[in-house]
């Protein structure tokens, strides 16, 4: 087996991985490997041809491919960064050696630190168990997106979209533009899971009805989908008898959520957060395995690539510091807990919280609310508050917490909405 040595190895060449590589180089790492299984870098952005990227990171509204090209432009010329494309990371060993398989066979990349930036994958039909037959014509929205935008194939002529996640909404518009008739978008929750702007410009603009509190109860068709039975659901998500209606279609797109891609993390026995689906990390995005960091969608699903880049930079910098022995070993860890009104919080742990540093928190609300206050409490005291005009599960909330405000006696921190 071929062997190579690097200061930092980054697994995944999407926005999080590219930002990690750049930040690692800036923090002094001399040799950095970026390992990407696809034939080119950029990650999921290459199939997201719509605009809406980069407002935070580049102060400009870009398409996905343009955002990827900008990110690449920032690191391509750096002498110490080496790209392995068409190369799959198969395992991360205990000594932080990444075993890869690529055009040159199996290569072991021994690294001081590893950054996991593998992104996420889509939940499939099996994960939500729809009744009915098993005909052709059922796709995840992201698979359909790749077909339409990169391969030049339309999935069908008439489509129904299940789930109001952003990918489903974006695909409703994309298919409409390409002449596919989109009959409806169904969402089981009483609110939409996508950004409001996507409801307006992807559904309303094309007169596509959105049925909230509705789901597909059966898919029909023998060889190919011929239609779906839709049904209203109550608060417990149980079907309401008598509310069924039928929609004719030859295609069903599923946009029912994303799951962090954590096969490697599981192999390494990294503790995962059941709510984010990603590894448990501290503020440096370091996992329970010393020298292994995680950022971007593999850690928790991001709605903005800009935040995935930002998080990649946090992890990349810390990875470089760890590999040169400058990242202080964590003397103790303080759990950060998602309290009332919140579903997830990242990071889940603070290491060495006495340093007076700024901790960037990414949290998600459990249900939509107007006019709320985001609050952090530790040791029986409120240490941080911020008023928010609204909190929606589809939009990540970002807050900076100064650690010198934390009482010495605190044994955990609760973040909540009041």
């Amino acid at each position: 087996m071929d062997k190579k040595a690097y200061d930092v190895a980054v697994i995944g060449g999407g926005p999080a991985g590219l930002a990690a590589a750049k930040a690692a180089a800036e923090a002094g790492a001399g040799k950095i490997a970026v390992i990407e299984r696809d034939r080119e870098l950029g990650g999921i952005l290459q199939q997201c041809i719509h605009n809406g990227f980069g407002l935070r990171h580049f102060n400009e509204e870009l398409t996905g491919p343009a955002y990827a090209e900008r990110c690449l432009g920032l690191i391509k010329h750096l002498p110490g960064v080496c790209f392995y494309v068409d190369t799959m990371a198969l395992a991360v060993q205990n000594d932080n050696t990444v075993v890869t398989s690529g055009p040159r066979g199996i290569t072991a990349i021994k690294a001081g630190s590893v950054v996991l930036a593998m992104g996420c994958r889509e939940r499939t039909r099996g994960a939500i168990r729809i009744a009915g037959t098993r005909p052709a014509g059922v796709f995840t929205a992201g698979a359909a997106q790749r077909m339409v935008n990169m391969e030049g194939v339309l999935p069908g002529n008439t489509a129904v979209i299940l789930g109001s996640g952003d990918i489903g909404l974006i695909m409703a518009r994309r298919l409409s533009i390409e002449g596919v008739r989109v009959m409806a978008c169904l969402e089981i929750a009483p609110w939409s899971n996508g950004l409001t702007r996507n409801i307006v410009q992807c559904l309303d603009d094309y007169d596509i009805p959105l049925y909230l509190s509705h789901t597909i109860s059966a898919i029909h068709g023998r060889d190919r989908v011929t239609g779906v039975t839709c049904v209203k659901v109550n608060e417990a998500f149980r079907p309401v008898a008598g509310s069924e209606f039928y929609l004719e279609c030859d295609t069903v797109l599923l946009s029912v959520g994303l799951i962090p891609e954590n096969e490697l993390s599981r192999q390494m026995d990294l503790p995962l957060d059941p709510l984010t689906g990603g590894p448990v990390v501290d503020q440096n995005r370091q996992t329970a395995h010393t020298g292994v960091f995680a950022a971007g969608n593999v850690l928790h699903v991001h709605d903005l690539a800009d935040f995935a880049s930002e998080e990649g930079a946090i992890a990349g910098r810390a990875a470089a510091l760890h590999s040169s022995g400058q990242l202080a070993a964590p003397p103790g860890v303080l759990p950060v807990i998602a309290g009332d009104g919140l579903r997830t919080v990242v990071p889940q742990l603070l290491s060495d919280p006495g340093g007076g540093e700024n901790i960037r928190l990414f949290v998600r609300a459990s249900r939509p609310r107007e006019k709320v206050t985001l609050e952090a409490a530790a040791g029986g005291r409120v240490v941080f508050t911020r008023a928010l005009p609204a909190a929606r599960p589809s939009e990540m909330i970002v807050a900076d917490l100064k650690t010198d405000r934390l009482p010495k006696t605190a044994d955990h921190i609760v973040i909540r909405l009041t």
Binding site: I49, G64, M150, G152, I177, T196, V200, Q201
Partner: protein
């Protein structure tokens, strides 16, 4: 005629402010609910002549992918988007292309160009 109120969501940025416009005799008297001036601009345009940025793909030869993603370099009238999409189906370009290259100048005489979203060799 009485003053009419119209509510809409701003789509300029992800904050999605809820906007209220007061309209009399087809004229917009005021816009409220916006957190920044772009929201007022959006409401005024949206209620009179809505515009959108348009993204799609065109065929490309000699590249490792069959399609090149493209974007309009400004917003165009919402009602013209499907016409633009239809027009792009007749276009084929050849690699190499650089990001920002004009693929269709002044599409359908609307005053905006269709440019390449990315480079492709």
């Amino acid at each position: 005629m009485a003053i009419e109120t119209k509510c809409l969501s701003c789509i300029v940025c992800p904050l999605s402010c809820r906007l209220r416009a007061e309209i009399k005799d087809g004229k917009i008297l005021s816009v409220s609910g916006n957190s920044c001036p772009r929201g007022e601009m959006y409401a005024r345009n949206e209620l009179t002549a809505p515009r959108r940025v348009f993204t799609s793909t065109v065929k490309i030869k000699n590249a490792f992918l069959p399609l090149l993603p493209v974007v309009s370099d400004g917003s165009l009238p919402k009602g013209k988007i499907l016409d633009c999409a239809l027009f792009l189906r007749s276009i084929e370009v050849s690699a190499p292309v650089r990001a920002g290259h004009v693929i269709v100048p002044d599409i359908l005489g609307l005053g905006v160009n269709i440019v390449a979203s990315r480079s492709m060799d």
